[in-house]
Symmetry: C2
Subunit: 328 residues, 2 copies
């Protein structure tokens, strides 16, 4: 059914080796080359990538492993990776882990045993184990989050500073007690963003125990909604809240609208754009959180590793927004 290189060779009257050489640009006399190309076209020949990968010990596919495909931050990141990778001749396949270690392990295993050219990984948690990947010299770049104790390239945002800046912005607007909704325990970005918040909170309310005004949720809409509701039930509720990611901000805002307390009645600062928003009014502070840019940078780094860059592991802290393209 599928034409093989042997059939092409037979039709062109040459050996399979010659066919391979023609298709890979090695030196072959023009007469044979033409014959081979003609035969390949006639048979609609497409080289079997499995065989090629087995022999070459490396495919031309990059795996992108992300925790939540339904979060527009990660899909923007995916687009960034994709744009760079396709331009460099690689294809990208996306794998969704749902923040579950077993699904993540499964996809990491696939990346290894399919001998993929490289992996861009947003780890489910710091416990993610990439030793197997490193042991086989597969280039890896972690993005958005890092893994614990691995000497591996990382492209990150300054989370602590993000938390600080967002919280400060609210105090600057005149709010007096800024709560925080952050992500799950043992997700490093969640802790760091909360750290930034805690620092500013404590400076403004030294007598109040910060943890009372800290909520942890699952980085998704429902989590933000529930956490916001929980905060508003406090005996002394906050008058503003720093929400540590885009989706939870949506949830928080949904809850505030439902109890008729829309910003700026209560202050709200979000790390990352509200996706697909129809919220036009003032009162929500948005700090850009450039997923696409992270993806572009990570892909550039990964491609340079695939290209043979064996320098020591680098950590890049990205700043700026999606609008400015990093030089690549």
């Amino acid at each position: 059914m599928a034409a093989t290189i042997y059939e092409v060779a037979a039709l062109a009257g040459v050996s399979p080796a010659t066919v391979s050489r023609v298709l890979n640009g090695a030196a072959v006399s023009p007469g044979y080359a033409a014959k081979v190309r003609e035969a390949a076209t006639a048979l609609n020949f497409r080289p079997n990538r499995t065989a090629r990968t087995l022999r070459r010990q490396s495919s031309e596919i990059i795996a992108l492993i992300i925790p939540d495909i339904e979060n527009p931050f990660y899909t923007a990141l995916a687009r960034g990776v994709e744009d760079r990778a396709l331009a460099a001749g690689y294809s990208v396949v996306l794998c969704n882990t749902d923040d579950q270690h077993d699904k993540e392990a499964r996809y990491l295993d696939i990346a290894i045993s399919e001998q993929m050219a490289g992996v861009v990984l947003a780890p489910a948690s710091a416990r993610t184990d990439i030793d197997a990947l490193l042991a086989r010299n597969t280039p890896v770049v972690t993005v958005d989050r890092s893994t614990h104790g691995h000497a591996v390239d990382a492209v990150l945002m300054d989370n602590t500073d993000g938390g600080r800046a967002a919280t400060s912005a609210l105090y600057d607007e005149g709010f007096l007690r800024v709560a925080c909704i952050t992500g799950p325990r043992d997700v490093e970005t969640a802790d760091q963003r909360a750290d930034g918040w805690r620092e500013v909170f404590t400076a403004h309310s030294p007598r109040v125990k910060a943890e009372n005004y800290l909520r942890r949720a699952n980085y998704r809409v429902d989590g933000g909604r529930a956490a916001m509701a929980d905060l508003m039930r406090m005996r002394r509720p906050p008058d503003a809240v720093f929400v540590a990611n885009n989706l939870m901000s949506v949830g928080a805002l949904q809850h505030l609208l439902s109890i008729d307390m829309e910003p700026p009645a209560i202050g709200l600062a979000s790390l990352g754009d509200l996706p697909f928003t129809t919220w036009q009014k003032k009162g929500v502070t948005v700090l850009p959180w450039p997923g696409r840019r992270l993806g572009l940078t990570a892909a550039d780094l990964l491609l340079s590793r695939i290209g043979g860059d064996h320098g020591p592991a680098r950590t890049i802290i990205t700043r700026g927004s999606d609008e400015d393209d990093p030089t690549g």
Copy 2:
């Protein structure tokens, strides 16, 4: 670096064939089996999938090819496919085509030459060519959209009826002139949804040329925004609009808010939920458009084909919402 089956065999003191049998559940005496398992663990052996795929002529990966990874409808669909596929022991990789035929062709080519177990495809357009896939007997299920002239399984929504229902709902609310914003030319869902609208529109305004109140945009937020703006600039603007997908509805709503004409000042009916919405007021009619359900159904169908079901091609028109799970 990577342990092979030969090394495991050597360590266990058996032949590679026996190692393979142990790992694949064929009959092997318990003593050897234990030795092999021990050796495999000691060497941290992971079978090379490339080699396995080459020999078996089929991998255990399902490709899901979608036109816009940033559209929550498709990510919900992806989750549906994923849930079913993972449960059945297959892994899913996601490929994003951006509605571009060249990117789509590239991924289709990969699906073939990586010998993937099956493909769930939301075609960029009816011109998408899947002959190569069919020629190699790779199971294919198209979803959301179909391809022209291929006898292939399809899981679709009733687009025409959706357009009809959404438009009727607006007239029932008392609006008098319902415009339509649909997707690009030569995308079948766009045409069908517009057909449904046209039917109802013409019944209500037999003297008006329907095409005057029809706009085509790119199925994304900016497209919806621009199309809405265009409609409002008409000498005689509509008093309501049927918007044919979720993202364009967001854009349309954004424009209406910006000119201070928020629903229900103007009627708006959307095919599909407004994603991540913070819009709480009435005045927007939403017809459920269950992406996840489509994905579940498509995966079920694909898995049955992979399992050897060679019956004639089926077309399934999905109804209902994401809440009810299809029996699978």
